[in-house]
Subunit: 588 residues, 2 copies
Amino acid sequence: MILDRLKALRQLMDQHQLDAYIINGTDPHLSEYAPERWKTRSFISGFTGSAGVVVITKDKGGLWTDSRYFLQAENELKDTGIELFKQRVEGTPSITEWLKEVLLEGSCVGLDGTCFSMGEVEQMEADFSAKSITLSIEQDLLETIWVDRPVFPNSQAELVPDEVAGETVENKISQLLATANADYHLVTALDEIAWLLNIRGKDVAFNPVFMSYLLVGENRSTLFVNPEKISNDITNHLQQANVKCLPYNAVFTELKEVVANQSIYIDPAKTNAAVANAIPENCKATMGASKVALLKAQKNATEISGFHKAMEQDGVALSRFLFWLDKNVDSGSISEYDVRLKLKEFREQQPDFKQESFPPIVGYADHGAIVHFSVTEETANKIEPRGMLLFDSGGQYTCGTTDTTRTVAVGKVTDQMKQDFTLVLKGMIGLTNVVFPENTKGFHVDIMARQWLWKEGLNYGHGTGHGVGFYLNVHEGPMSIRQEFNNTPLMEGMVISNEPALYRENEYGIRTENVIYCVEKMQTEYGRFLGFETFTLCPIDKRCIDKELMSADEVTWLNNYHQQVFNKLEKHFEGEELQWLQEATSSL
Amino acid sequence: MILDRLKALRQLMDQHQLDAYIINGTDPHLSEYAPERWKTRSFISGFTGSAGVVVITKDKGGLWTDSRYFLQAENELKDTGIELFKQRVEGTPSITEWLKEVLLEGSCVGLDGTCFSMGEVEQMEADFSAKSITLSIEQDLLETIWVDRPVFPNSQAELVPDEVAGETVENKISQLLATANADYHLVTALDEIAWLLNIRGKDVAFNPVFMSYLLVGENRSTLFVNPEKISNDITNHLQQANVKCLPYNAVFTELKEVVANQSIYIDPAKTNAAVANAIPENCKATMGASKVALLKAQKNATEISGFHKAMEQDGVALSRFLFWLDKNVDSGSISEYDVRLKLKEFREQQPDFKQESFPPIVGYADHGAIVHFSVTEETANKIEPRGMLLFDSGGQYTCGTTDTTRTVAVGKVTDQMKQDFTLVLKGMIGLTNVVFPENTKGFHVDIMARQWLWKEGLNYGHGTGHGVGFYLNVHEGPMSIRQEFNNTPLMEGMVISNEPALYRENEYGIRTENVIYCVEKMQTEYGRFLGFETFTLCPIDKRCIDKELMSADEVTWLNNYHQQVFNKLEKHFEGEELQWLQEATSSL
């Protein structure tokens, strides 16, 4: 099947006089999760991982992906003729390096410019110029060869009431324009549009967003969205903030006209090249990181209390699940996939739950050591009554988004498991309790989560914390907590995951993740100091802890945390479940 | 006097048709400590601080300096007509901003291009271009008006034997050329030349360097140095490494000829604009951070053992001093300046001591809170028998450079002093004990020194660690341990200070500084892990510690450290002094 598709693509490339074609599998908003219509990477290559770029030439093919997917890609690419290029492995050429090697001087490379950022396209053009290779960004060749391509998503958008959002659209827009210092700010990331307009959608799985572009200007903002998405209520709501609606594709023509001789602020990493090209030359464009992202990341008091409500519901669901697991795991008949379904089932019982916030990761034993193991019916193992189970899951509630990882004993755990679990836990507690002056960045504090692992020569190969949206994408920026440089400071109101981990290949994986939020801790003559409070309400499995490795302060933190979990959740439980909760949250 | 000098300068500016003249008080090698001849900033303004830039226009004058010197500058600039501009204070214009405001379009600004880096000059030119202000970098106007200007320093250079340096010049040069990937590497920083050639000098106070430029090429390196500095021994030594000597000023003519049609590697931050201008246009210049700095920073095993030897001698001197202080401080007659002299006296008794490595900082009570308090006979206070004394001093030994800060009780210390002292000590220990994977940067680990202060809303406004040279500059790069971004990783063999601190304005200051060095701790399946060992051998004053605030591990570290100090030093002591050392290093 893949071979047929490749053949069709190559015929079309020939017709368009393209010597290569690049497919990255994202959508016109460069979303982490794309609507089905833009799952172009898996359509053309069969590779189903969440990240990767496919390049097809007349007689060659390549997939560039990262270490999470090396094994999976090798399997899925078998017999396609597409070669695996391992990103961030020494000696692997970049896509442009490879193309410069395999293509002749003067070749032409095609791609769908709506699915690549203007920054990427400019970089590619610069890279190719040395070999006089040109880039053609006009062709969406898959449109022709993908016969049953899913249609453009057209779900209904829904309102987030002002009292839930904590801020009117008008106020958000004026804050935005005050910081952008331009006549217009073009907003292209779907979660930014949703947050700014207090609207959510269902166009993408897991992320409650809707396909649109937004051009923000004083008293004259335009939302480019297909009309069937927009109810009268939403039209009224938008009118109050002087936002008019035009069809999704009108963005190209409208941009050409409206911003002529004006100034506009755009984010080159988030704006696709096709839209960027629609901005006329006489418009003064300022490039920079989207100003919406930083506003959105600093949650207001209403959003913070919404999160508390969501976390309580999520805590009830997770505790119910843990009780169920404890009762049933001895049977040996539960599979990782059963766990995934059960997690969803318990969440669905919660009043404000809408959908899962990402595909759950459920890894028993060695599956726990596969960082992004996405469990399906086919890949699921049975859970035997020994060792540990890692599960990472979350929900979209109308009052907040959750993301929790716990690693729990499903039987006897070894001393090494306990030591590893405790080192990870010490890191999670250490980061939770750090206090830091204003303007501290995530890379300054990341070590608080890693130091105990490092002392034993252990580490984990991913970041410690990502931003979490308010009833929005479970991954958001602009801040992060990781080793990599990121100049956005940790600021009051930011909601961030705290997820140190340890993976013993082929043995087991441990990750303990709470969602924390940044608060002011004190002001002294030495400045303003910030720190974190914890949102997540879910017991941490004491059976996996080696108390000897913990300091008195860490034990106190854990006991206080469990006390808080119990106090917030107990009213939802009774009988055997309440007893279970009491035991799970009792002092260490 | 200053007014006369300013008048003479302005007359000369007039003759040269300059509307402003900039004086930064550094030398042609952009040294931290300049030879007397280049102390132009204090000559023209009377300001004696170690950092600052003076700008003189026809009718105005300004000094830009940082917060360390605000008070001092205000005093010293009185009646000069030179205005203080406070760097890094909101609202302070930069020098070019200010000049663009006070000068007319088309003005000309002069400076001595040998004392400004090419990077700085390029930046100024770019800044000025908007107002058509030109820059003339040819004039050293002070040469004319400074009648008794100190002569060019002409001390004799001295050899560092290969067995002390641990590496031949030939090997160092070939390592350098291997990394620079150019026909030539121009070396302009005096400590880099001294290290690369295994030679030291006495041209600058505190730093054992000699005035020179070095053009390194395969089999054809040239040292530009005045011949009176160079003995026959050194000439022979240099010949062995294919380094020929030419006079200091020949660098300008020689560069023009030798590197024509060749490639050269230069560091734009370390190369002065005049020398950079001498590189002909047909030479392919690659700009980047000097490759010498990184090689020099990773000390070889011989240098490491030299450091141990130097630290032992320094520890003897410091312990003698501390014993003397304890015996005499009750009298109330000792001044901070006496302490400075005494520290030097005890160091001079050590066999390999050459000179102090920087001007000692000796601060009793509120003077301790002035971060860079340089004690002189005039500024010295008497030390009363209560509270704490901070002293920061070091020596140049032929086998290594030392830099130690201790804060000691000179009488009763308050509970708050003890708490502050202990928080600082916890940070010093925390950084000493951190273990981290290869490629970790200083900004990743800086928090280990600050976290305990931060938890109490306290902080210190300077970096935690700077590189320390091997019988060379006490401050060296390229790595550092501080909050600011610095992409050079911490690497095996790097020697770094570890000096957390706390300053209570108008009350007291606390700083505890050891010199540590980076070593491999282990290799595991998670990678290679590094950490630190301690060089410095000097008791930490237990009378200032609140043991309740320390963890068991921290107490163990301190006890082990003191045991090590005692073991290494005891053979140098007897009688009452030995008893003192025993007590000072006994278990907490």
